[in-house]
C-alpha cells in the first residue's frame, strides 16, 4: 500500500502516494447536483487552491472530506488506503482537520473549552491549556485560553479556530474561506502561518476561496469548480487572474463590477478608482438622513453602536466599510426600526424619527434592503405579489381589505419593471432564485419613492449577473435623487459604487473619505482599528 505510485496518477509526476485522492465524488440534493463526478488530488508540502463562485460545490466537497456529508458516489483514499468518512471524529483519526469559515466555535464558551470540544476521554483543562500554549509558541498564535470566545475579535476567533484544528496535529488541513471576516493585515498574517504549516511540517493544505488574488498569491496548484464540476486544474505559477476568472465564471470577464465581485481588485487595478459612475454631492446639501450620536447598548453592556454620526444626502451613495461585526448589523437594524437608541437621534427629511417604533423609519421614507433576505427580507411561503406589498398595503387595499385585482396589477407592473424572473404574481417566493428574490425586495422598497435607500449586504450570496444588476440599480436610485446608504463587508463593492466612504470600527465612524480621496492603505488601517 505504501509503495510509490507511478506517474499515471496524481498531478505531479514525481509525487509519492498522494495524501488524499478523491475520485468521482457525486452528491445530489433532490434535483440539484452539488458535486458531479469531482476528482481532487492533494500532496504533502503543497497548498492546493479550490476556486469557485458561491454554489460551485466547493463547500460540499470539503464537507464530504471532513465527514459532515456522505457522498452518493465516488471514492476517498487517504494515504493510498480507501476509506469512508462518516463524521468529523473519524476524519480527525485519519489526520484530516478543517479550519471553518464560521460555525465551529461556540461564543458562550471559553477558548480552551472550545478547543477541547470534539475530543474524547477525560476532560483535563490543564492539559488543554498547556497544549494551547505549545501551539501558540510554535506558530506565533498568541491567545488567552480562559477568554470567552464571544469577546474576541474576528481575527482572534480565527486564531482559536486554527489552534483547534492544529492541536490534533492533522496531516491534511482544509482552510474554508479563511479571510472572509479578516482585515487585510490579519489575512497577511494568516497566510504567513499557513505557509509555515505547509513547508516546515510537510502537511497537505487546501485553501477554499472565491478570491482570485488570494489563490494566486498563496497556492501551488489550483482546481477550479463551476456548477458542481471541476472545469480546470493547473499549477498556480504561470497562470493569471484573468484566466482563472474566466474559468470560474465560464465566460469572458470584462465588466468592472464582475471583477470587483470576484475580488480581482489587484494592485494594478487601483488606478481605476476614481469613477464610481455617480457624481459626488456637495457637503452643503441638506441631508436626507442624519444620524447624530447614535448609541445602542446590547446584551451584556456591549456598545453595538457607539456615538455614531452619519449623514446621507440626496443623490449620493455612502458606503459603510468595515470588518464584519463592527456595528453594521446594528446600523441596519436601527434604520429598519428594529432597535431603539440609548442616546442620539435619527432625522429624516428634517424631522426626528422615533427610533425603534415599528414602521417609523419606513413611514419617514427610509427603505431598507435587509442584510438577511430569508430572515427579514421576504416570507418564503407567501407569493411574489404578497411579498411585494408586505411593507405597504395601502395602494392595493381599501378599508383594510386587499383588492385582489389591484394587487395583481401592481405585482405584474413590478415584475415587468424589475425584470423579475418568476412564474407569475402567484408564484411562491421560494421558487425564485436568490437574485430574483432580491429583486422583489428591491422593487418593494423602491415602489414608495423613498428618500433614503439602505442596502445592507445587498449582493451577498448572489451570482455575478445579479450583483451587476443590483449595483446598477443603486446607481440609478442615486441618480434619481435618492440618498443611498450601502452597508457592505465587501470592500470592492463599496469602492465600486460609493461616492463617499465611511469606515465603521467597534460601532463608531472612525474615518471618512470622499471618493476622490480614497486611499486603500488608509482604509485598511482604519478597518483594522488603527488610528489614521
Amino acid at each position: 500500500m505504501n509503495t510509490p505510485v507511478d506517474s499515471s496518477t496524481g498531478v505531479g509526476a514525481t509525487a509519492p502516494t498522494p495524501a488524499v485522492e478523491l475520485t468521482g465524488i457525486t452528491k445530489r440534493y433532490g434535483a440539484v447536483v452539488a458535486c458531479d463526478d469531482v476528482g481532487l488530488t492533494l500532496h504533502r508540502g503543497r497548498i492546493h487552491g479550490i476556486l469557485g463562485e458561491n454554489g460551485a460545490g466547493k463547500s460540499t466537497l470539503m464537507k464530504i472530506l471532513i465527514g459532515l456529508v456522505l457522498p452518493d458516489a465516488g471514492s476517498i483514499e487517504v494515504d493510498g488506503a480507501r476509506c469512508t468518512i462518516h463524521d468529523p471524529i473519524e476524519a480527525a483519526r485519519l489526520g484530516i482537520g478543517m479550519v471553518h469559515q464560521h460555525f465551529s466555535l461556540i461564543n458562550a464558551l471559553t477558548v480552551w473549552e472550545n478547543v477541547a470540544l470534539g475530543d474524547a476521554g477525560r476532560l483535563d483543562p490543564q492539559a488543554v491549556r498547556q497544549r494551547i500554549g505549545e501551539i501558540s509558541d510554535q506558530y506565533g498564535l498568541v491567545i488567552e485560553p480562559d477568554a470567552r470566545v464571544g469577546d474576541l475579535t474576528a481575527g482572534l476567533r480565527q486564531r482559536v479556530e486554527i489552534i483547534k484544528c492544529l492541536r490534533r496535529d492533522p496531516s491534511i488541513v482544509v482552510f474554508d474561506e479563511p479571510t472572509s471576516v479578516l482585515t487585510p493585515d490579519e489575512s497577511a498574517q494568516l497566510f504567513e502561518s499557513l505557509r509555515h504549516v505547509v513547508t516546515a511540517e510537510n502537511r497537505a493544505v487546501v485553501l477554499v476561496s472565491h478570491k482570485l488574488d488570494e489563490v494566486l498569491n498563496s497556492t501551488d496548484e489550483v482546481t477550479i469548480m463551476r456548477q458542481g464540476r471541476v472545469v480546470d486544474r493547473r499549477p498556480t505559477a504561470g497562470t493569471d487572474a484573468r484566466t482563472l476568472a474566466t474559468a470560474m465564471v465560464g465566460r469572458q470577464v470584462s465588466l468592472r463590477t464582475e471583477r470587483a465581485a470576484l475580488g480581482v481588485i489587484a494592485v494594478d487595478d487601483l488606478t481605476e478608482i476614481g469613477d464610481s459612475g455617480v457624481a459626488e454631492v456637495d457637503a452643503s446639501v441638506e441631508p436626507a438622513l442624519s444620524i447624530r450620536g447614535a448609541t445602542v447598548i446590547g446584551a451584556g453592556g456591549v456598545r453595538l453602536l457607539d456615538d455614531l454620526t452619519l449623514d446621507v444626502r440626496p443623490g449620493e451613495i455612502v458606503g459603510v466599510a468595515g470588518v464584519e461585526g463592527n456595528g453594521q448589523r446594528a446600523l441596519g437594524d436601527l434604520l429598519s426600526s428594529l432597535v431603539s437608541l440609548d442616546t442620539g437621534t435619527v432625522t429624516a427629511g428634517g424631522r426626528q424619527v422615533a427610533a425603534g417604533r415599528p414602521g417609523a423609519m419606513s413611514r419617514a421614507g427610509i427603505a431598507v434592503i435587509p442584510e438577511d433576505r430569508h430572515d427579514s427580507g421576504v416570507v418564503l411561503d407567501m407569493s411574489v405579489a404578497e411579498n411585494l406589498v408586505l411593507v405597504n398595503q395601502r395602494r392595493v387595499s381599501r378599508h383594510g381589505v386587499i383588492d385582489q385585482a389591484a394587487l395583481r396589477d401592481f405585482a405584474l407592473r413590478m415584475i415587468a419593471d424589475f425584470d423579475i424572473q418568476c412564474a407569475g404574481p402567484d408564484a411562491p417566493m421560494w421558487s425564485l432564485s436568490g437574485g430574483n428574490q432580491q429583486r422583489v425586495v428591491l422593487a418593494r422598497e423602491l415602489a414608495d419613492d423613498p428618500a433614503v435607500l439602505v442596502a445592507a449586504q445587498p449582493t451577498r450570496g448572489l451570482d455575478v449577473g445579479a450583483i451587476e444588476y443590483m449595483t446598477e440599480r443603486l446607481r440609478l436610485a442615486a441618480a434619481s435623487g435618492v440618498g443611498v446608504l450601502l452597508i457592505s463587508s465587501e470592500l470592492e463593492e463599496i469602492l465600486d459604487v460609493a461616492t463617499r466612504v465611511v469606515v465603521l470600527h467597534q460601532g463608531r465612524v472612525v474615518g471618512e473619505m470622499a471618493h476622490h480621496e480614497l486611499d486603500l492603505e488608509r482604509l485598511g488601517l482604519l478597518m483594522g482599528g488603527a488610528a489614521a
Binding site: 473549552e113 477541547a116 470540544l117
Partner: protein
C-alpha cells in the same frame, strides 16, 4: 398593623416554617436540578410536571408491592425516566415540537396515574426519620435540614454531583455546547441530539426522585393532585436562577419560602383569605420572573430543535 408584624415575626421564628420550607424546597430542587441540565442542553422541558407525577406514582406502587423505600426510590427514577424517554425520543429523534410533546405528556400522565391510582390504590407511608447527630440540634434550621426522613438527604450529594457533571466532565461541556449553539458542536463531532436526549433522561431521573420524595418525605400517600403545578415552578426557578445551578437552587428556596409561608399562616391560626393564600407562591413566581427574566441570558439554542445538515 402591629398585629401583622407580630404575626410575621411569629411565622419566621416558628420551626415548622423552616421544616415545611425545606420540604417544599427539596421537591423543587430535585425537579429543577434536572430541568436545569435539560435546559442547558437546549430543551425547555415542560414535561417535568409529568415526570414528577409519574415518579410519585411508580414509587408508591413499588413500595406497596415490596415495602422497601429504597426500591420505591428506584421505581421513582424509572417512572420519571419513562416520561423522559417519550419526551426525548419524540423531540430529539423524531423532531416533534417539544412543547406539544411536553404538554401532551403532562395531561396523559395526569389521567393515567389518576386512573391507575383508583385501580391499584397503593398503600404508602413516610420513610423513617434520621436525625443527623449534632447538626439536627441547631436552632430553627436543625430539624428542617438535618432531621428529615432519610431520602431527603439524597439532595446533598445530588447538587455537587450535578455541578461537577456539568462543569468538570466532557459530557457536561458537550451538553452546554449543544445547548448554546448546536451547529458548531455538530461540526466539532458531537452528537447533538444524543446529548440532548441524555440530558432529558437526567431530568427524568432527578424528577423521578422528586416524585418519590413527595411520597416518602413530604406527603405519605399518592393522590393525582400531589404535584399540583410545582413542576412549572421548578421551570420558573431555573429561569429565575439565570440558568446557573446555584441561582436555580436560590430560586427554589425563594419559591419554597412562599409555599411554606402560606402553610404557616394557616397553621398558626391566622385568618386570611385562603384562595389568595393559595395563589401566593404563584404570584411570587410571576413577580420573580418579571424582575429577573430579562436580566439573564438563556442558553443560545433553548427550545430550538436541531436537524443535521441544515445550515
Amino acid at each position: 398593623m402591629l398585629d401583622l408584624f407580630r404575626a410575621i415575626g411569629e411565622i419566621f421564628t416558628a420551626e415548622s416554617t423552616y421544616i415545611n420550607g425545606a420540604l417544599f424546597a427539596g421537591l423543587l430542587i430535585f425537579a429543577a436540578t434536572g430541568e436545569w441540565v435539560a435546559e442547558r442542553a437546549g430543551t425547555l422541558n415542560i414535561s417535568v410536571e409529568g415526570m414528577l407525577l409519574a415518579g410519585a406514582f411508580t414509587s408508591a406502587v413499588a413500595y406497596d408491592q415490596t415495602s422497601s423505600v429504597a426500591l420505591g426510590l428506584l421505581a421513582g427514577v424509572v417512572g420519571g425516566m419513562i416520561v423522559a424517554g417519550v419526551q426525548a425520543e419524540m423531540s430529539h429523534r423524531l423532531a416533534a415540537d417539544q412543547f406539544v410533546v411536553g404538554l401532551t405528556l403532562n395531561i396523559l400522565v395526569f389521567g393515567l396515574t389518576g386512573f391507575l391510582d383508583r385501580e391499584i390504590a397503593p398503600a404508602t407511608k413516610i420513610a423513617s426519620t434520621f436525625d443527623v447527630p449534632l447538626l439536627s440540634d441547631l436552632p430553627l434550621i436543625g430539624q428542617a435540614l438535618f432531621g428529615q426522613p432519610w431520602p431527603f438527604y439524597l439532595l446533598y450529594p445530588l447538587l455537587p454531583f450535578s455541578w461537577w457533571l456539568m462543569y468538570r466532565t466532557r459530557w457536561g461541556l458537550e451538553v452546554r455546547a449543544v445547548g448554546e449553539d448546536p451547529q458548531p458542536a455538530d461540526v466539532s463531532g458531537i452528537k447533538v441530539n444524543l446529548r440532548r436526549r441524555q440530558s432529558i433522561y437526567y431530568a427524568g431521573m432527578t424528577s423521578g426522585l422528586g416524585g418519590a420524595f413527595l411520597i416518602f418525605v413530604q406527603v405519605g400517600r399518592f393522590e393525582d393532585s400531589i404535584v399540583g403545578g410545582r413542576g412549572f415552578i421548578a421551570i420558573a426557578a431555573v429561569i429565575f436562577g439565570g440558568w446557573t445551578l446555584w441561582g436555580t437552587v436560590g430560586g427554589c428556596v425563594v419559591f419554597a419560602g412562599a409555599l411554606s409561608f402560606r402553610l404557616s399562616v394557616q397553621g398558626l391560626g391566622y385568618q386570611l383569605n385562603s384562595e389568595m393564600l393559595q395563589s401566593l407562591p404563584f404570584v411570587v413566581t410571576l413577580v420573580g420572573m418579571a424582575i429577573f427574566a430579562h436580566r439573564v441570558r438563556p442558553p443560545g439554542a433553548l427550545a430550538r430543535p436541531f436537524v443535521r445538515g441544515l445550515t
